[in-house]
Amino acid sequence: MKALVFERSLPKFAAARVAGSVSGGLGARVGPLRLADVDDPVVPGPEWSVVRPRLAGICGSDLATVDGKASRYFEPIVSFPFIPGHEVVGDLEDGRRVVLEPVLSCATRGIDPPCEECGSGHINRCHQIAFGDLHPGLQTGYCADTGGGWGLRLIAHEQQLHPVPADFSDEAAVMVEPVACAVHGALRLLRPAEDGVAVVIGAGTLGLCSIAALRHFGGDVVIVAVAKHPTQRRLARDLGANVVAGPDEMARAVRRATGAMMTGDQLNGGADLVIDCVGNDGSLASALSVSRPGGRVSLVGMPGRVSVDLTALWQKEIDLAGGYAYGVEPLAGGRRTFDLAFELVREAGLERLVSATYPLERYKEAIDHAANAGRRGAVKVAFDLRKEKRR
């Protein structure tokens, strides 16, 4: 079958890293990602199905991988070669449409009894992502055995599949996975009855979905969105941000929203909750600087190695928490995050965030578009496999 394959090749990895540092997305032209004809993934048992992707999104973590920027932390928990793509809506062989929940938890690995986290529904915290019947891989799209959304077929465990309502478009369905990330990132630290001001740093897919999630689940919380580009600013406001500020304007915007004072460049108060959807040095430093004493920072954007002054975290006793993937949400009565994401996609009309689709052959253009989505007025870029020949 035709697929984009990411192979282990140190020279190509190095080339991608250099190219990606010149311009986002350039790693696709020189790195380990290539369009190839590969064997179909093998179905390991009756609990598994073949999924033929219809749309498969390009995520920030995919871009980091393609551009050689992903942390070496992932080395033992992925397996090569893998076919990327974990934001997937596809068809089962019986014609039913499904959305993939890509986390490869104990159940998918045939591990019984499951680890403590999987047993309580928090599959994103699975202890066994490098063990069991599958090769290592924290998600479909990073595991050599399962295939991924950037190929014509992948295999999925029954616990990874969510049926798509008939009135859901493919564009709406492909947004469910990133929306689930945003919902989890928001709900992990949100205190709806107490939080007065929340800040969302970044207005790409995760940032915009986080704004929608806060608006949907966060009561009357005042949302300050930090957005760089005009389309992002417009969408941030449309999705429920009360204030939209540029990166240079953030501290002043938070000061105004919270009624805080300043000492030098420091706020004496600040936001109750900050959701960092960027995950770099600057965004984390900003998150800490605009958080109030005793505030909470949720790190949703995938970080790598960052260098940041943690004095504010220490002095203001800020709680910093990661927000990876999804599972169940205690704040929502223990419901699965994916169920909440379906609800939010529908309520907020998030299919509008799908800006462009490309066939697999044009993957270099697609990745370039995704890497420069903000400045090009786009949000989510996806591969469209609906017209691919299935052989």
Partner: protein, 528 residues
């Protein structure tokens, strides 16, 4: 004998016209048939201003007694004076305020008055620095009062230093500086640069609180002031007059001293700014070229420093003292004597160049909001009768309009520009949605009281100052401005005057009539 102002009809022989362009100039060729409104030449200054001051205090106007008769041992005397916003540019020493206050203090000393306090009448402006106070008052006055805590700056946010006198018959609350109200005599020392300055506005605005000011510093008042420079047709003036009469009726005793200046505005190095272009001699041309070339090569900060260091040679042309309204009537006549130019009819397009300075950026940065205020607030309103441009017409103004703010002086301006103008430029909507939050923001209040920041609400007032123009005009174009900053304010940027005139035709139609309001120096159009 100084020549009066006049209106020049531009023909093919007319040399290019000088436009201010912030901290620089542009020479622009206006279309044939345009009109240029030239100000009167500087009127003659008083030969002996100190003696004139003394005579004014001894022979007051209205029903006031001479100042020495109002002074006695044991009394409480407060002398309030205009702040750093006047005059423009700051004048060469000695400043009018110094001259007047020294005479007043001499008379107070002669009468045995020893409870004397000086108050800078800031209203919601920033606090003055020591060097600014020394410049305005002179070292002798400063050193005699400041070290003893007797030189104060009005604090419109100090509840303990304010007193609510009551309300006018229109329900306008009058809340003033407590020391001024509780004094046996309040002497107010003015510099009246334009027709709006002085009169009851001095105390009713300069020593008031936000609670009081909001009754006339609002959009409705500005929309009903046509113009706010014309006392007969100014709702701003009327409100201040109601408050002033209420203050007098409340028992506050005011002795008003007003001084006027001529328009000899720039030192000899900038002499070409004072002359009409076709009368430039070789020295003027050489100075213009030398100054322009030098400025072109000078970094922004240094250019700003050069201009802000200018001390104007303008001199006192009159001084009058006594009862507020009688004094102000005489002052206004003297201001008009210097400023008024008769102009027949309105044009489709009004052009002017904006200088580097306005009342709110002395020793500071002319930010975009102040550009708007200077152009559409002050320049547009420098008329009596009707505006120089017809309803639905276009104003073209020249200024670099950088996206730049003084972080100490104008903190709330930055927020206003980033948050408010990003949402709306409609003064009514701005007033309704945002004013109260900015006006009551504790951070701005803290900076106003303890640092050198304008009050949180001040950028709103700047925007309201242009409300009449925004309501009247069909479009505003800024030549040579930062396009992002210009667009943020809802205006259109143009690279050249020619481009701007073509863009204006989209609004007013082809072959528009054009009037250029020539500045410097300052003038006021009497439009028939």
């Amino acid at each position: 004998m100084p020549r009066p102002g006049f209106v020049l009809d531009v023909d093919r022989s007319t040399p290019p016209t000088l436009f201010w362009h912030g901290e620089g100039f542009r020479l622009e060729r206006l279309p044939t048939g345009s009109r240029v409104v030239y100000p009167p030449e500087p009127v003659e200054a008083l030969g002996d201003p100190d003696d004139a001051i003394r005579q004014a205090l001894l022979h007051p106007l209205g029903d006031s007694r001479p100042l020495p008769d109002l002074l006695s041992a044991g009394m409480k005397l407060t002398i309030a004076f205009d702040d750093v916003s006047l005059p423009l540019p700051p004048m060469e020493r000695p400043d009018n305020r110094q001259r007047v206050i020294e005479v007043v203090l001499d008379m107070a000393a002669a009468a045995g008055v020893d409870d004397v306090v000086l108050i800078a009448a800031l209203a919601l402006h920033r606090r003055m620095t020591e060097s600014e106070l020394r410049h305005a008052l002179g070292d002798r006055v400063y050193d005699a009062f400041a070290p003893h805590g007797l030189l104060l700056q009005h604090d419109a946010e100090d509840p303990a230093a304010l007193v609510l006198l009551g309300e006018t018959d229109q329900g306008e609350e009058v809340e003033l500086n407590r020391r001024a109200v509780e004094s046996d005599l309040l002497v107010y020392v003015n510099i009246n640069l334009v027709a709006m300055d002085g009169g009851h506005k001095s105390v009713a605005t300069g020593l008031a609180s936000y609670r009081s000011l909001r009754h006339h510093h609002n959009v409705r008042t500005m929309l009903h002031s046509r113009s706010f420079m014309d006392q007969e047709r100014s709702a701003l003036h009327s409100s201040n007059w109601r408050m002033g009469r209420f203050i007098a009726a409340s028992g506050v005793k005011i002795f008003q001293i007003e001084t006027t200046l001529n328009t000899d505005t720039f030192p000899s190095a900038f002499g070409f700014l004072q002359r009409r272009e076709w009368e430039w001699n070789g020295r003027d041309r050489a100075s213009f070229l030398a100054v322009s070339k030098t400025l072109d090569r000078t970094p922004d900060r240094m250019r700003r420093s050069i201009f802000q260091a200018i001390k104007s040679p303008h001199r006192m042309t009159s001084v009058q003292a006594g009862e507020v309204e009688a004094v102000h009537a005489a002052t206004t006549a003297n201001v008009y004597r210097q400023h008024l130019v008769e102009v027949d009819g309105q044009a489709d397009v009004l052009t002017f160049g904006l200088p580097y300075i306005c009342p709110y950026n002395v020793n500071s940065v002319m930010n975009p909001i102040l550009v708007m205020c200077l152009g559409l607030g002050y320049f547009f309103n420098l008329y009596r009768g009707k505006p120089l441009v017809r309803p639905g017409g276009v104003v073209i103004m020249s200024h670099p309009t950088p996206w730049a703010f003084h972080p100490v002086h104008h903190p709330s301006y930055i927020d206003f520009f980033e948050e408010v103008l990003a949402d709306t430029t409609d003064p009514i909507e701005i007033e309704k949605t945002y004013e109260e939050r900015f006006a009551t923001d504790d951070w701005y209040r803290h900076l106003y009281r303890t640092s050198h920041a304008y009050h949180g609400v001040h950028p709103f007032y700047m925007w309201y100052w242009g409300a009449h123009a925004l309501d009247h005009l069909g479009g505003v174009i800024i030549v040579g401005g930062d396009p992002r900053a210009v667009r943020r304010m809802g205006f259109k940027p143009a690279s050249t005057l020619r481009d701007a005139l073509e863009m204006a035709e989209d609004v007013v139609g082809p072959e528009p009539t054009v009037t250029h309001f020539h500045c410097p120096p300052m003038a006021m159009a009497d439009v028939r």
